[in-house]
Amino acid sequence: MERSYEKYFRQNRLPHLWCPGCGNGIAMKAIVQAIEKKGLSQDNTVIVSGIGCSSRASGYMDFDTLHTAHGRAIPFATGIKLANPELNVIVITGDGDCTAIGGNHFIHGCRRNIDLTVVLFNNNIYGMTGGQASPMTPLGKKATTAPYGSIDRTFDAARLAEAAGATYVARSTAYHVQHLTDMIVQGLDNQGFSFIEAMVQCPTAYGRKNKMGSAADMMKDMQESAVMKAAWDKLAADKKEHKFPIGVLYKEDGLDYATAYEAVIETAGGKNK
């Protein structure tokens, strides 16, 4: 049976290089299902990624795809969107790519409210290079560069996005596939900077090092730790430990950058040129 979303993949580039049990494939599939749901044209949609495990996704997806340099997906995507605002531009990034080496670009993408849909595959680790700590590795967890447990405080990328000016911020997990897809659909609906953090399990480079069991065990952890936003807001502070909210975390109306620039062109007298 052909599944309807298969046309969004470059069959000749599959199978993917991700490890067995990796959550990246689930997040990638959620993106194409969101694209399908929204009815976006493959000719008119560009997938931009950085460097790392997550960012290999662009190569498997049958669109115009751009595998940029480490941390730089958002500036490239900004250029694409401004040069041709008709294009739907989706960015796939990872926790290291987006919040470490690309942190400043992430902040300023949010600030400009440039119309991008940014999906961060958060596996809490640098997977591609064998398990070094990222800014989203939880406190106390081990990594090859944090062999005694990480003492670096962790970024909450969703709160960072909100504070920096993103107009849509959501989180979901690889366990909550339908929910994740829905979060991405709503991100695509928003004309502005949309940020979706997709928690994904990395059983190989992160789970094994931290004795977190199999991929299934890690997904079960996600199921137990994730709390829907509405419930989270009512949760007592002492019950929040080891848990995190999922759902639409923040939303506001705001003029996107390309539209704002149209007014600049108008003022400068460059309309219709």
Binding site: R10, R13, Q42, D43, N44, V46, V48, S58, G59, D62, F63, D64, T65, L66, H67, T68, A69, R72, I74, P75, F76, A77, T78, G79, I80, K81, L82, A83, N84, E86, L87, N104, H105, I107, H108, Y261, V264, I265, T267, A268, G269, G270, K271, N272, K273
Partner: protein
């Protein structure tokens, strides 16, 4: 011909780029290049183009590469520290073959150096600033009018060869105002964006080289579903971990420029007819060298000047031929000595090569280069 006007080098560079079809600029302000960004911020929206001030120089490179991939001719400009930051994605543009022009209005370095003072210290950075094996085209204008022409040329070369081109200005020309008469728009030759020769259904591969070894990569949004990466890739655009493909890919990147080398190596000769000695200079320094050579001629010294407008690829052939003709060459450059090494390499011992260097924030005075000429004519003795 248009009306004569007083124009600044940076201003001419911005207008030249627009004349060549640039409709997108991404940048970050930095002295002494800022007038280019300011000019673009004002002029681009007035022609329906776009200007964006990015958070840093890395992002500035990223945004122009994105815009170029989406079909717009794109420019960025910076200086010293900013150019250092841009190196990562200059390499990306070389590898992924994305047309883009980077203006470097050189100032004194290293590091923050002397922000407002002229220098020509980025000659080697222009060639080797980013990691790995890659070709580079760099042009260095010596007048405000030539800053305009070089901007047009840089944009055209970036499109024709699908490669990053560095417009290696210096503060002397960047901030100089002088009388210029610009060409009429109709007289400016523009190299258009290369187009795919066939459709997807006909088996289009984005990185299949054309006869001139340059691929006709489709723009994003044209329905080709191409993949672009900074990993070494084959004709499909997808990464391949093969020694053979890696070697072929790096060969082609170099060869596409190499086979056009003579055509893009622009030099000019002055007072060279019966010259027994020559001064080699470029950019703003060449103006002072010209004055020095003219004065030396008045004193009866048989000296001429060869001016390099194309810095990279280096004018090997021309310098080699020069070495066979003259007894000695003086390289005048506003740095500790960079281009002189290339000259020595090309000369290969066939004649005397001497350096006239200056790196103290000030431009050369003609007398300083004249002293260098005196020494050269005396066979290296004071």
């Amino acid at each position: 011909m248009t009306e004569a006007r007083l124009m600044q080098g940076n201003e001419a560079c911005a207008e030249g780029a627009i004349a060549a079809g640039v409709s997108f600029f991404g940048g970050y302000p930095i002295t002494p290049s800022t007038e280019i960004a300011e000019g673009m911020a004002k002029m681009l929206p007035a022609i329906g183009g776009k200007f964006v001030q990015m958070e840093d120089e890395i992002a500035s490179m990223g945004v122009v590469l994105g815009a170029s991939l989406a079909g717009k001719k794109a420019l960025t400009a910076s200086s010293g520290p900013g150019i250092s930051l841009k190196q990562e994605l200059i390499g990306y543009a070389a590898c992924a073959e994305i047309p883009v022009v980077i203006v470097n209005v050189q100032r004194v370095g290293p590091s923050t150096g002397q922000p407002t003072a002229p220098s020509q210290g980025d000659v080697m950075q222009a060639r080797w600033g980013t990691h790995g094996d890659h070709p580079m085209i760099a042009l260095s204008p010596w007048s405000v009018r030539e800053a305009y022409d070089a901007a047009v040329m840089a944009v055209n070369y970036s499109e024709r060869f699908r490669t990053p081109v560095i417009l290696l200005m210096d503060e002397i020309i960047g901030h100089l105002r002088e009388k210029v008469v610009l060409p009429e728009a109709k007289d400016i030759k523009i190299y258009p964006r290369r187009k795919p020769a066939c459709s997807r259904a006909e088996g289009y591969q984005p990185y299949t080289p054309d006869k001139d070894l340059v691929p006709n990569v489709a723009n994003f949004g044209e329905g080709y579903h191409i993949h672009v990466t900074g990993l070494i890739h084959d004709e499909t655009g997808f990464p391949v971990g093969s020694p053979k493909i890696t070697e072929e890919a790096i060969d082609r990147l170099h060869q596409k420029i190499e086979i056009a080398r003579d055509e893009i190596t622009h030099t000019e000769e002055y007072f060279m007819d019966d010259a027994e000695y020559a001064v080699i200079a470029f950019g703003g320094t060449a103006r002072t060298a010209y004055e020095a050579v003219k004065n030396a001629r008045a004193k009866g010294q048989k000296v001429g000047m060869v001016r390099l407008m194309t810095i990279w690829p280096f004018a090997d052939k021309i310098v080699k031929a020069l070495a066979a003709k003259v007894k000695g060459i003086l390289v005048a450059e506003l740095n500790y000595g960079q281009l002189v090494h290339e000259v020595e390499r090309a000369v290969a011992g066939k004649c005397d090569v001497q350096l006239c260097a200056k790196y103290n924030m000030e431009i050369f005075e003609p007398q300083e280069i004249e002293s260098g000429i005196d020494k050269l004519c005396a066979g290296g003795k004071d």
